[in-house]
C-alpha cells in the first residue's frame, strides 16, 4: 500500500503515526513545502518572544521519521493531483503515485488589498520562516503594527511586547477576540494588555503601508489608518484571518467549498482521497453542518481519524468543536462551543466571582452549548465534555449556574 500525505503538521503527522500503528509495511510519504521537520505552528509567537529556540518547537524527536519509516520530502510544493492516474505532482517535477492520499495542507494568512502590502517588512504569521523574518526586523525598542484583533494577532502582539517592542494593534471592530469572546471577557483581557503597554486602536483599519527604498527594496516604515492617523512601523504583521490551501485542487474533481468537503470518514468527493485539518470542511458537532474550526486539536483528531480510515480500520469522525485557550500575562482564558449565542432560545448566565474572573455559560434547554472562563480555568474540560457529549444537565444545571465546576456534573 502506498500512502501519500500532503502536509507535515498536526493533521499530517497524526495521520502518519496512526497509519504506521495499523500498517507496519505500507510505504508512507509526506510532502511539505516547508523545509523543517514537523514543528508547532502555535509556538511561532513564543519564538518571536525569544522564549523558545527552533529546536524546542519540534513536535517530535529527531528519530521520529526514521523510527516510523516515514519518508519526509521537504521543500516542494504540490501543484496538482491527477486522480485518474493516482499521482501527485510537485513544483520541482517529482511525481508521487498513491493508493491512498491525504490532503492536510492547512491554511495561509489572507493578505489585505491595500497599497504597500507587498513591501519588505510586511508579514503574515503562519510559518517558522515568517517568525524568522519578523524577528529580523523587530529589534528591541522598535515599533510593530499588528493588523487585526483575533487570536493570532494578539499572540503576535503579546510576543512582540515581551520582546521589548512598542506594539500597536489595529482592530476594525470595537473589541478584541470578537470570534471567541463576548464584550465582558474581551474587556478584561483588553484592559490587561493595555495596562502592560499594548496600544489598541479600535474602529480603525489600515488604509496604506508607506515605506522607503532601502538597498533598492521598498521597506515598510509606517502604516496610515482610515482615521487619518499615521503610525511608525519597523515591522507590520497581518492577522486578518486565514484561507485554506486548496488552490492546487482546481480541475482535480475534488469538491471544495470554503475548505475541502469531506464525509463522515473524512473522505473527499473522490474515493481514496481524504482531507483533514485547517484545509478540510468537516462535520461540526454543534451545528451538524460542515465547517472549519481551525485549531490544532481538531486537526490532530481529524488526522488520526483519516489515518485509520486510510489504513482500512474504519471509524466515523465524531465532529469538531470550536474552542480556544489563551494565556496573556498569566491570565488564562478558555472559550468553547457557541459561547456568544444570544436570543430567546438560549439562557445566558454571567458571573463575576472576583477581580479578573469571569464566567459566561450558555444553555439551550437542558444542555450546555458554550462557555467562556476568564481566570482560574482548571477543569474547563468537564464543561467541554458536557457540550461535546450533549449531557442532559438536570439538577446539575443549578450547580453549574453558580459557577461550580466539578467531576460530579458528569455523574
Amino acid at each position: 500500500m502506498r500512502y501519500v500525505i500532503i502536509g507535515n503538521s498536526a493533521a499530517g503527522v497524526f495521520a502518519a503515526e496512526t497509519i504506521r500503528s495499523l500498517d507496519k509495511s505500507g510505504r508512507i510519504e509526506i510532502i511539505s513545502d516547508e523545509r523543517y521537520p514537523a514543528y508547532a505552528r502555535c509556538l511561532t509567537s513564543y519564538y518571536l518572544a525569544g522564549q523558545m529556540s527552533e529546536e524546542q518547537m519540534m513536535i517530535r524527536n529527531e528519530e521520529f521519521y526514521a523510527n516510523n519509516e516515514i519518508v519526509l520530502n521537504t521543500g516542494q510544493k504540490v501543484t496538482g493531483i491527477d486522480t485518474a492516474e493516482r499521482q501527485v505532482r510537485t513544483d520541482n517535477g517529482h511525481i508521487y503515485g498513491y493508493d491512498k492520499l491525504l490532503i492536510a495542507t492547512g491554511a495561509s494568512p489572507v493578505m489585505p488589498d491595500i497599497p504597500g502590502a507587498e513591501m519588505k517588512g510586511v508579514f503574515g504569521l503562519r510559518t517558522l520562516d515568517d517568525a524568522k523574518g519578523i524577528a529580523a526586523c523587530a529589534g528591541q525598542g522598535g515599533h510593530a503594527v499588528v493588523m487585526g484583533g483575533g487570536f493570532v494577532s494578539l499572540k503576535a502582539a503579546y510576543a512582540l511586547l515581551k520582546a521589548g517592542l512598542s506594539v500597536t494593534c489595529i482592530v476594525s471592530s470595537g473589541q478584541i477576540l470578537s470570534q471567541m469572546l463576548d464584550r465582558e471577557a474581551a474587556r478584561i483581557l483588553g484592559d490587561l494588555l493595555i495596562s502592560h503597554g499594548l496600544d489598541i486602536k479600535f474602529h480603525a483599519d489600515a488604509a496604506e503601508i508607506a515605506g522607503d527604498s532601502i538597498d533598492g527594496e521598498m521597506t515598510a516604515r509606517s502604516v496610515k489608518l482610515t482615521t487619518g492617523e499615521t503610525i511608525p512601523a519597523d515591522v507590520v504583521i497581518i492577522g486578518k484571518g486565514v484561507t485554506p490551501n486548496t488552490g492546487f485542487l482546481s480541475g482535480s474533481g475534488i469538491a471544495v467549498d470554503r475548505g475541502i468537503l469531506v464525509n463522515e470518514h473524512l473522505e473527499t468527493t473522490v474515493p481514496d482521497i481524504y482531507a483533514a485539518g485547517d484545509a478540510a470542511q468537516a462535520l461540526d458537532i454543534l451545528t451538524g453542518q460542515r465547517s472549519i474550526n481551525a485549531i490544532w486539536p481538531n486537526a490532530a483528531e481529524q488526522g488520526t481519524a483519516a489515518g485509520r480510515n486510510m489504513a482500512g480500520s474504519p471509524v466515523v469522525y465524531e465532529g469538531s468543536l470550536g474552542m480556544n485557550s489563551a494565556d496573556f500575562f498569566g491570565l488564562s482564558t478558555i472559550a468553547a462551543g457557541n459561547p456568544k449565542a444570544e436570543g430567546d432560545e438560549y439562557e445566558v448566565v454571567k458571573l463575576f466571582p472576583g477581580r479578573h474572573l469571569y464566567r459566561r455559560l450558555v444553555f439551550k434547554g437542558d444542555n450546555l452549548i458554550g462557555y467562556i472562563l476568564v481566570g482560574n480555568t482548571a477543569r474547563a474540560g468537564i464543561l467541554t465534555s458536557l457540550i461535546r457529549e450533549r449531557v442532559p444537565l438536570g439538577s446539575a444545571k443549578n450547580e453549574l449556574k453558580q459557577g461550580r465546576i466539578g467531576q460530579r456534573l458528569l455523574w
Partner: protein, 168 residues
C-alpha cells in the same frame, strides 16, 4: 497495564490520598517540610462527592486509550508512552497553554500556574510505579489492578471507569 480503580462503598472521603499525592510529588517528600519551605505541592487526585453526599470517589487521570489531551497538545509534550501505555507529560516541552485542560473530559489536569506546566497523575511511575494514593488509603478503597491485555474492549471500558466493579 494497571489501572487505579475505586471500591466506592469503602471510600469515606477522608482525603488521605490527596495528602499523600501532594507529599510524594513535593521536592521535600514530607508534607510539613514542604509547607514550611513554602513549596506549594500540587496534587493530582481530588476526592469528589455526589450531590446526595452518599458516594465519594477519588478522581485522577483515567489513562484514556484515545486521550484528548494528547491530540490537543500543540507542543508534543503530552504523549502516549509506548513502553508503559501511560499518558505522560514531557514537562520540558510544556508551555502552559492549557489546551489539554480545555479538553480533558474528567478535569484531572492541574494547571500549575507558577511553573506553567500541566500536571497530572503518572501512577507514580517516577517513584517505582507504586501509587502513593493506593498505599495511603486507610480503608483499602483505592486499588491498583492489572487490566487484562487480551480483552481490548473490556480494557477500554475499564480504563475510562473510576469504579472497581464485581469483576475486579
Amino acid at each position: 497495564m494497571k489501572q487505579i480503580l475505586v471500591k466506592t462503598e469503602r471510600c469515606i472521603g477522608c482525603k488521605s490520598c490527596e495528602l499523600a499525592c501532594s507529599t510524594v510529588h513535593s521536592g521535600s517528600k514530607d508534607f510539613l517540610a514542604a509547607v514550611l519551605k513554602r513549596e506549594r505541592p500540587v496534587r493530582r487526585v481530588t476526592v469528589e462527592t455526589n450531590r446526595e453526599n452518599t458516594v465519594n470517589i477519588p478522581v485522577q487521570c483515567r489513562q484514556c486509550r484515545e486521550p484528548k489531551c494528547v491530540t490537543a497538545c500543540m507542543t508534543g509534550a503530552m504523549h502516549l508512552d509506548e513502553a508503559t501505555g501511560l499518558v505522560l507529560n514531557r514537562e520540558e516541552k510544556c508551555v502552559g497553554c492549557w489546551m489539554c485542560v480545555m479538553v480533558c473530559p474528567y478535569g484531572v489536569i492541574v494547571p500549575n500556574e507558577e511553573d506553567k506546566k500541566a500536571v497530572k497523575c503518572d501512577q507514580c511511575l517516577s517513584g517505582g510505579h507504586n501509587p502513593a494514593c493506593v498505599k495511603a488509603c486507610p480503608t483499602g478503597a483505592i486499588k491498583f489492578i492489572e487490566i487484562s491485555e487480551f480483552d481490548k474492549n473490556r480494557k477500554k471500558e475499564f480504563l475510562t471507569k473510576f469504579v472497581a466493579g464485581e469483576e475486579a
